[in-house]
């Protein structure tokens, strides 16, 4: 880094990078907080609110996000069309079925600072419901971020050796029929 020319060093510090986040089995709130940090540019030590430092963030598999608790049924997204009687309330499950990108988009929108920069930052957020990305975005990606939640393994994903290595915690009585 010491042998960069001044122009090259300026480019390296202020260039806009493209991050990739896989949202499969992840809580949308944690994904959104990671996105908002990088869209504002707060992950950079040279951050200032005026200098337009934010990076692009691409979120894939937004159709497969996982809510903790019963939020799919309990969490309600409200909106008003502006006309009388136009107050609409939809549960997270219904909204996700109608538009699989909406939950992550609304979460990130709520976490960004509430000023005029928010719309430009949202333009730099790219959400895709599945794995497929267009080629131009795929060519721009620089870094993939680690998923915030560790995905637990299902019982059929353990090998037979691992299942045998786990000790039997109790022994059934001789005459009990194990179904």
């Amino acid at each position: 880094m010491s042998n960069f020319s001044r122009t090259a060093q300026q480019w390296a510090s202020f260039a806009r990078s493209w991050f990739l986040i896989d949202a499969r089995m992840q809580p949308p709130g944690k994904i959104a907080s990671m996105c908002s940090v990088r869209l504002q540019g707060k992950h950079k030590p040279i951050y200032h609110a005026i200098s337009d430092l934010g990076d692009h963030v691409v979120v894939i598999n937004s159709r497969h996000i996982a809510f903790s608790g019963n939020k799919w049924e309990q969490k309600v997204y409200s909106s008003h069309t502006g006309y009388p009687g136009g107050f609409k309330q939809v549960t997270a499950a219904q909204l996700h079925q109608k538009d699989p990108k909406a939950i992550v988009k609304l979460a990130v929108y709520g976490m960004l600072p509430k000023n005029l920069h928010r719309r430009t930052m949202m333009q730099r957020l790219h959400i895709f419901p599945d794995d497929e990305l267009p080629e131009d975005i795929l060519a721009n990606l620089t870094e993939e971020l680690q998923q915030p939640r560790e995905i637990p393994r299902k019982l059929n994903e353990y090998t037979q050796e691992e299942k045998d290595a786990f000790p039997r915690v109790w022994t059934p009585p001789e005459d009990y029929l194990l179904k």
Partner: protein, 207 residues
């Protein structure tokens, strides 16, 4: 004649099994006529190996294999298996290898008079098993469907984890309330409140 027809029915019930590769938790549900004993069925803990042999007459021999003794628990005097292995406050809904030892093949819990669990641990394990089922971590422990049942095309299920209440029983929170009196959403279960947490964060049961 009756004996052979009975044996044939037993043989057809065994065609799906590969002799010698049965695991120790296999079902001994089907009634079997072991030739040397009387025609009455004998339910036992597990006939682990079934050898099918004979060309003209079908003979099935069932042997109860000796299971090699496993590792010893660190606290053998305790009554409850969780306390015997010092697992109290240490397991969660993700520890499927432990939870699967206390469930039946259709996903239900085994009674505590059989497993030997103390009442609090039985309740905690039941709660963890419920959460694991709702998270989809036990895909093979489904209720048995009647024969000839054609499953309808299912709509894709939503991913979830740490669900306390059953999916159809919860109502949407249309009026959330102000910050000081907000209606919070329940996550996890208070039975697992005393689990050991490595790290500084608090356990949030109400989001």
């Amino acid at each position: 004649m009756a004996f052979r027809s009975v044996l044939r029915s037993v043989w057809t019930s065994f065609t799906g099994l590969n002799p010698g590769t049965l695991s120790s938790s296999v079902v001994a549900r089907q009634t079997q006529n072991v030739p040397r004993l009387s025609a009455l069925t004998i339910h036992s803990r597990g006939i682990r190996q079934a050898l099918i042999f004979g060309l003209t007459t079908l003979q099935i021999e069932g042997k109860i294999l000796e299971v090699p003794p496993g590792p010893k628990p660190p606290n053998p005097e305790a009554k409850c298996p969780i306390y015997r292995w010092n697992l109290q406050h240490k397991y969660n809904y993700t520890d499927v290898l432990l939870l699967s030892q206390f469930i039946r093949s259709d996903g239900g819990m085994l009674p505590k008079r059989i497993t030997g669990l103390c009442p609090e641990e039985h309740r905690k394990i039941a709660v963890c098993v419920q959460m694991a089922h709702r998270a989809g971590l036990l895909p093979d422990h489904r209720p048995r469907l009647p024969e000839g049942h054609v499953p309808k095309p299912k709509k894709p299920k939503l991913n979830r984890y740490l669900t306390r209440w059953s999916v159809g029983s919860v109502k949407p929170i249309y009026k959330k309330g102000l910050k000081w009196c907000k209606k919070r959403m329940d996550v996890g279960h208070p039975a697992l409140k005393n689990n050991i947490r490595y790290g500084f964060g608090h356990l949030h049961l109400r989001h």
